[in-house]
């Protein structure tokens, strides 16, 4: 469904009039996520090596690479689910994980910075004792301190957006994988995050359910959400991205706009990777 469609710049097309609709030339130069000199090892194995990456507000950045290349680790460092060994990450100008004095952030402070990001996991990780609506309202009420009424109104809007309104009262165990993931997206959006992080959002889905989740993410990109997406869906990456990053053994070896990346990659490794993932 995404093949051959020319990549739309974020913010074009379906934006509502009251939103500023940034096109490519007038795009915000504000930086949503800035990653500098990021390194991380697991048991002596270097998973990330001096990675630099900037995500502009409203941009969709997809991270590609074979398994074990460090792409999920990179994403998980952004909200400090993994602690990098060195380097820095700023979310909207605020450094995460390390406070002004250069010490590890106190838990409460860390939680506040984390709340500025929204994350969608490969395995959904919904909270099974809460119904769909309450999965979405849980964090806004108990983390952001929103009133129940306000959180529910927002949750219902978001469930509408991801096409899950009819299931608001259902419990996660009764949903399909695709439905769970759409709820998980609504749950993350309910934090009104500055950046959405997607960690292989379709990898745990039956093939016929992949489309419904990708369609939702594509809608979000059209609405101008800032997103960082780790994925194996090439056609999708090509269709939604403003920037494609290719990781190999913890290094960014290619970083380009999707057209260049998919048709005219400069490294042999990337061309090889694309060929293998073609069929």
């Amino acid at each position: 469904m995404f093949e051959k469609s020319t990549p739309e710049p974020a913010g074009s097309g379906q934006t509502t009039p009251e939103q500023s609709a940034p096109d490519d030339t007038a795009r915000s130069d504000r930086i949503a996520v800035s990653i500098r000199h990021l390194s991380k090892s697991f048991d002596g194995v270097e998973v990330l090596r001096d990675v630099d990456l900037e995500v502009r507000e409203g941009d969709v950045v997809t991270i590609l690479g074979s398994s074990g290349s460090g792409k999920s680790t990179l994403l998980r460092c952004i909200n400090w689910l993994e602690r990098p060994d060195s380097g820095s990450i700023h979310i909207g100008g605020q450094r995460i994980g390390v406070n002004d004095a250069g010490r590890p952030m106190p838990v409460r402070e860390l939680a506040k910075v984390r709340a500025r990001t929204g994350m969608v996991f490969q395995s959904f990780n919904l909270w099974p004792h809460l119904n769909v609506l309450h999965n979405v309202t849980e964090a806004p009420i108990h983390v952001l301190g929103k009133s129940k009424a306000e959180a529910e109104a927002l949750a219902r809007d978001l469930l509408e957006k991801v096409g899950m309104s009819p299931k608001a009262d259902a419990y996660p165990s009764t949903l399909s994988g695709g439905q769970k993931q759409r709820v998980a997206i609504a749950r993350a959006l309910a934090m009104q995050p500055e950046v959405m992080l997607f960690d292989e959002p379709t990898s745990a889905l039956d093939p016929e359910l992949v489309g419904e989740v990708l369609a939702v993410i594509k809608d979000l990109s059209a609405e101008g959400y800032t997103m960082v997406i780790v994925t194996h869906e090439m056609a999708f990456a090509r269709a939604v991205s403003d920037q494609v990053v290719f990781l190999e053994k913890g290094l960014i070896i290619e970083q380009a706009d999707p057209e260049t990346f998919f048709t005219n990659a400069s490294t042999e490794r990337v061309r090889q990777f694309l060929e293998r993932n073609e069929g």
């Binding site: 909200n79 689910l81 838990v107 409460r108 939680a111 506040k112 984390r114 709340a115 990001t117 929204g118 994350m119 996991f121 395995s123 990780n125 919904l126 909270w127 099974p128 004792h129 849980e138 964090a139 108990h142 983390v143 952001l144 419990y171 996660p172 165990s173 009764t174 998980a184 749950r187 993350a188 934090m191 992080l197």
Partner: protein
């Protein structure tokens, strides 16, 4: 006058013993539940220095005969100038002892709690306390419901030990009647009826609670 008629005549004693047993039971299992939850929270590791002592304490209690603990509180504590009357010694012993069992049951379930859910909570900005009380604990309780029901029955039966430190509960009533009129068989049969009745009612309630968790996919009742 048959033995049964004698007991019927003394029904007031049974009733007050039963009321006392239920009071002790209700109070001590509520406290035990709170202690179990509290210990599980300490085991989450937000205060690392407490983790090992809590584990040791739980194991120490599990390996201690309940009666010894009761003796210790009632006869042992006065040596440290702490004097509890029989009733509070009994309630305290039940609460601590079964609290540790609750903690052990919870701990087992916590070990298999999906780490992804904890990550999701962190990613959504939850701090440890809120994550524990809103997301982890409710699921652990639902998941361990059958084991908790079992533990409640143990706790109910353990209230009978308190007769030894002179608490005037149900078994004490039967004891005194059997002594006064020398009708031990009938007196204890009546008491067994009381314990069974309470246990059966608890079983039914716990089973009904299962519907709540089954709806959420936690078990299949």
């Amino acid at each position: 006058m048959s033995n049964w008629e004698i007991l019927w005549g003394a029904r007031e004693q049974f009733w007050s013993g039963f009321a006392s047993t239920m009071e002790i039971f209700g109070l001590s299992i509520s406290a035990a539940f709170a202690i179990g939850c509290g210990m599980l929270y300490l085991l989450e590791g937000s205060r690392p220095r407490l983790t090992v002592p809590v584990r040791v304490f739980i194991d120490a209690m599990r390996m201690l005969p309940f009666l010894i603990l009761v003796y210790l509180l009632y006869y042992g504590l006065p040596a440290f100038d702490i004097r509890l009357d029989a009733w509070w010694s009994g309630v305290g012993a039940l609460a601590v002892y079964h609290g540790c069992y609750f903690a052990e049951i919870f701990r087992g379930a916590r070990l298999t709690f999906p780490p992804g859910q904890v990550e999701a909570a962190k990613a959504h900005g939850f701090t440890k306390g809120k994550m524990f009380f809103r997301l982890i604990l409710p699921q652990i309780v639902m998941q361990t419901r059958p084991l908790l029901g079992n533990q409640l029955i143990y706790a109910l039966k353990d209230t009978a030990f308190l007769v030894i430190i002179t608490v005037q509960e149900l078994t004490a009533a039967a004891n005194s009647l059997s002594g006064t009129y020398f009708i031990p068989t009938e007196a204890f049969i009546v008491v067994i009826g009381f314990y069974w009745a309470v246990s059966v009612v608890m079983e039914i309630i716990i089973k009904q609670c299962g519907r709540f968790s089954a709806k959420r996919g936690f078990d299949h009742v």
